[in-house]
């Protein structure tokens, strides 16, 4: 069964969380709690259409009088903005709200762990793989795995009432699995312009008004949130790989291969983030938060 793999992944995950919590308790003493913000201070996105509202509400409470950002109804009255007219997108552009991060000491520990993991293991292996397998091949392999996890996207579309997206995903899967040689070619996109529907269970939860909860930086998996981690665990059950490759080691092999292939296409991204950032941890946390908000809005 593929179930043992799922079980193992969940077990490793729980062990990590346990380890993390005890680590966090230790590190807490050192950090003096400067960074630990109340999880209730930051604006929590409250479901699909309410996000923008919640976002600007968070603004109103957080901005403070110093920032001189006029709200839409008093547009153009701020001193600074008089000559220019106020920024209609100011509420998006000047926000300080971010994802609550009460477990920052633990998350920072895992951030360091993932950093080492990347530079010492993933990057060298990924670079070697990149040398051996030409880009065309890697794109095909990526397409294959993307096509394989169609159920995650289709069901996530369906649960959000995005019936068109659901239909697109079904057609994509049928077309790509046949005309696209088992999904190695994305003919549905190239010929029909049926784009991948970038939906997952985390976005489904957000659609029903569940906020991210708190930020998690997980070992191996990287940035996530409580909500998105729950979604990720759910997605393990929607992955057809487990029902197709039931033996333990082949299953693990497929997963590792997928991960390696993906890594080989993203070498350089993390380095760029690190190079541009003054505090890479905060940079990544915020990038994740903004990235997810953007995905949820779409």
């Amino acid at each position: 069964m593929g179930a043992p793999v799922r079980f193992l992944i969940c077990l490793v995950f729980l062990l990590n969380l346990f380890l993390a919590l005890s680590l966090a308790r230790e590190a807490d003493a050192g950090s003096g709690g400067i960074a630990v913000k109340s999880p209730f201070l930051a604006a929590q996105p409250e479901g699909h259409e309410l996000i923008r509202l919640a976002y600007s509400e968070g603004q109103a409470t957080q901005g403070g009088p110093q920032e001189d950002r006029s709200q839409p109804e008093v547009r153009g009255t701020g001193d600074d903005e008089k000559s220019q007219g106020s920024d209609p997108w100011a509420d998006e552009a000047e926000s300080l709200d971010s994802i609550p991060d009460p477990l920052e000491p633990m998350n920072r520990a895992f951030f360091v762990f993932n950093d080492k993991m990347y530079f010492w293991f993933l990057k060298p292996v990924g670079t070697g793989y990149k040398e051996v397998v030409p880009e065309v091949g890697r794109i095909c392999i990526r397409n294959f795995f993307t096509n394989l996890i169609m159920p995650t996207r289709a069901i996530s579309c369906l649960l959000q009432g995005k019936f068109e997206g659901f239909g697109i995903e079904l057609v994509r899967c049928v077309v790509n699995s046949t005309a696209g040689f088992l999904g190695f070619q994305d003919v549905a996109r190239d010929a029909l312009n049926f784009q991948i529907q970038d939906e997952d269970l985390g976005q489904v939860f957000a659609f029903y008004g569940i906020g991210p909860g708190l930020y998690l930086n997980l070992p191996f998996l990287g940035p996530s949130s409580l909500r998105d981690t729950a979604g990720w665990v759910g997605e393990l059950y929607l992955n057809p790989l487990d029902y197709m490759v039931e033996d333990f080691w082949p299953n693990v092999g497929f997963r590792s291969f997928d991960m390696l292939n993906k890594t080989s296409m993203r070498i350089g991204e993390y380095e760029a983030l690190k190079k541009a950032a003054l505090d890479p941890y905060v940079a990544m946390r915020d990038a994740y938060y903004q990235y997810r908000l953007n995905q949820i809005e779409k």
């Binding site: 007219g85 000047e94 880009e135 996109r189 541009a276 940079a283 915020d286 953007n294």
Partner: protein
């Protein structure tokens, strides 16, 4: 394939026109397009390909970017509530350092250019502010969503923020800087900024 794409783009343009009644290829988009085309011309210039021309190349990109980016506005928005507490000298120093950091970040991104297609898909204008939506089609067949935020200064539209896949650069730096200032101080931030800019030049 190419023909197919252009039809799709044309249809998308028409639809955007019909829906928003805002001309897609308006002034802000034209300004972004001009700058982008000039940068692509520099990056792909065979005369600047050799390694010893790298400095000259980045100097040229820098001067093009300088004309389009409003460093002061970016600095102001990044420091947000901390901006008002700064003296004139501090402001100038910050604009200089932060501008250098942003330039480098931006240079790193554009210098890796290898024939990606740039599509101009969206434009929103409200008074003196505009958003220009761009899609970059990579060699790996993925689309990257890039949004430029602009403000009109005189006759020109100047960039004050860039979002990549919904992640606003200015927003991201604001949170980092706020976090650093909360932990240490403005002086601490400037020191970090300076060592970052100087250290990797």
């Amino acid at each position: 394939m190419r023909c197919d794409r252009s039809i799709i783009v044309a249809v998308a343009l028409l639809m955007a026109l019909a829906v928003s009644s805002v001309s897609v290829a308006g002034e802000p988009t034209e300004d972004i397009r001009k700058t982008t085309d000039r940068i692509i011309a520099i990056v792909t210039d065979p005369g600047l390909k050799e390694a010893d021309k790298a400095r000259e190349k980045s100097r040229q990109i820098r001067s093009v970017v300088d004309e389009r980016f409003n460093w002061e506005e970016m600095s102001k928005r990044t420091l947000a509530r901390h901006w008002k507490d700064r003296t004139q000298n501090e402001k100038e120093e910050f604009i200089d350092l932060f501008g250098k950091l942003l330039e480098r970040t931006y240079l790193d991104k554009v210098e890796g250019y290898s024939g990606e297609k740039v599509l101009y898909v969206d434009e929103k204008v409200q008074e003196n502010y505009a958003i220009v939506g761009v899609r970059i089609v990579t060699k790996q067949e993925t689309e990257i969503q890039v949004d430029y935020r602009l403000q009109k200064k005189g006759e020109e539209w100047l960039v004050y923020d860039i979002s990549i896949e919904g992640v606003s650069l200015i927003n991201n730096y604001r949170k980092q800087f706020d976090s650093i200032m909360t932990r240490s101080s403005y002086t601490g931030l400037i020191e970090k900024l300076r060592s970052k800019v100087v250290g990797e030049n």
